[in-house]
Amino acid sequence: MPDKKVIGLHELYEKDPIEADKLLWGRTSDPVTRRGFLQKGALTALSLALGSNMVFANNFPAGMIPAGLAYSDQPFNLPGKRAGMVVLNDKPINAETPPHLLDDELTPNDLFFVRNNGIPPESIDVSSWTLTIEGESASQKKTYTLAELKSKFENVTYNLTLECGGNGRKEFNPPAKGNQWSTGAVGCAAWTGVRLRDVLKDVGVKSNAVYVAYYGQDTHLSGEAGKVVISRGVPVTKAMEEESLIAWAMNGKDIPVLNGYPLRLVFGGFPASCSGKWLSQVVIRDQVHDGPKMTGQSYRVPCKPVAPGTKVPDDEMCIIEEMPVKSLITFPKTGATIKQTARLPIRGKAWTSAEKIKTVEWSIDFGSSWSPCTVRVSDNRYSWQSFDANVSFPETGYYEVWVRATDSAGAAQPMLLPGWNPRGYLNNACHRIAVKVS
């Protein structure tokens, strides 16, 4: 019977969250035939996967289709995101922003990179959304509604840069597995919310507190209810910093669903994975947090430098905290052809987990000589800082414009890849663009 066949398919794919896909993609199945989104090409791949032709296509379980189409060649837009973002993975959604689209003073919401580990929550009811603070080192367990958070604590806005720890992974050799981020897993927005420390103090933090960690409302890719997707955190000292936020607004607007609506943590200067999205619970721990993606090799680098390709045991891997100094050329887009008479204006962004950026320099001779850029002062720590310069070229030909930032702690960007690590984190090598002068 046809139904038997469907059950067989279900056994393989029963865990696919149909509803989440519906929310994310706006794809819906035809209520009668359930083949509304069987698109060209899907049949081929699915038939191959099953080793048989899909005769009973109209009985095909709807939840499987989006998975089968996971490679989809159909151009699609991420919800709430502008076209032009580079989608590295569509299940879970991971998308980066090309450098020339990061030219704005603050990154617009629809251009902010997306690094999801699971599936964002669906049907979010802001009026019933709560945040619970608890844990071994919390004096009490306390729950706040969004309205309570907004009214009870001082509302603050900071420009904070978020960068994925794996940004730049693509360049490591030997390669590291995972999303092959190029340069665009970074953005800086004006985040509005309350200080995490104000809320923690309201609850009461015991003197033995070590770590502050989050839990969010996203669901695991397997669809398994209650399976935590990712739960990371920061040392208490970081949580207590002035700029560490529980935020509900981004650039004066709601945070996009893909970026954590309606509530998230924002820690500038730490890997963005510390800044939990769809935030519903904060735990004050009396030990280093041990949630998923806190342990093993995730978001960790060798405690001591290793040769490229070295296998490093888990107990010799240390948690990444501060992100390194880094910069991007956001204008012009790589590949510009200009006339020799013109001086080429360049613009970009530089950021660090240190106090501020000290200098940004440019070079068109692969580092033989460096010239200074003008660096704008930022409103607060952990904001990126804009820089610009006018570059002139001695003769026609092919050039590369490289930029290098140095922060107030004296750390500068390397021109080659920094220390190799098994998971490919913390690549802050200089950015460069190609220019032809004719």
């Binding site: 019977m1 046809p2 393989l12 794919y13 865990k15 083949r35 069987l38 060209k40 090409g41 049949l43 081929t44 791949a45 699915l46 038939s47 191959l48 996967a49 032709n53 005769v55 296509a57 109209n58 009985n59 998975a67 089968g68 996971a70 490679y71 989809s72 060649d73 989608v87 590295l88 993975n89 569509d90 299940k91 693509k170 360049e171 050799n173 030997p174 390669p175 597995k177 995972g178 999303n179 092959q180 890719l221 397997s222 012009p332 887009k333 590949g335 510009a336 052809t337 200009i338 013109a342 001086r343 080429l344 204006p345 092919y398 590369e400 080659l416 890849l417 090598a429 190609a434 032809k436």
Partner: protein, 166 residues
């Protein structure tokens, strides 16, 4: 003695009825589906051109288009094992997850084991060596040294009119 013949005919009749009922059930079990099917709405094949390699009609042609050795729709390299890799890997995730990564056979094996341990990937059976050979051959790490050069061939050159810009 005289009573026995009176009992036999009804008993035989009951036995016959039981046999007939059994045969009917058996027939239904064997052919019931197909008979019932003709009373139901028959399964409707999808209203699209069936998959035929190189059929060259309708939209399906694009799906199987190979350009410069790349299967255009997925971006996967069209080589031995392609069909199985496409059918297996893209059942659950984007082909981009394959094409953007590079690893040795050992590295790809580790990724498969990880997916089996954490992501519910099934036992690949006889397909596993085929998949591994495809991946290790076509998506092997290249030695790019401490840093790769800018891929000049991949750059989309454009004229930047600076007077307009300033």
């Amino acid at each position: 003695m005289s009573k026995r013949p009176d009992v036999l005919p009804p008993m035989l009749a009951i036995l016959n009825l039981a046999l007939m009922a059994f045969a009917l059930v058996l027939l239904f079990l064997l052919f019931g589906d197909s008979v019932m099917q003709s009373f139901r709405n028959r399964p409707v094949p999808m209203d699209m051109t069936a998959y035929r390699p190189g059929s060259g009609t309708g939209g399906m042609a694009d799906e199987d288009q190979i350009k410069d050795g790349i299967h255009v729709a997925t971006g996967l390299i069209y080589a031995e094992g392609f069909d199985i890799v496409r059918g297996t890997c893209t059942a659950c995730h984007s082909a981009k997850l394959v094409t953007q990564n590079r690893a040795t056979r050992e590295g790809w094996t580790e990724m498969i084991r990880w997916m089996q341990a954490k992501q519910g990937l099934w036992d690949l059976g006889a397909n596993e060596p085929i998949i591994l050979s495809y991946l290790a051959t076509n998506y092997a790490p290249e030695d790019i040294g401490r840093r790769a050069s800018i891929d000049v061939d991949a750059i989309e050159w454009y004229v930047l009119d600076l007077e307009k810009e300033q």
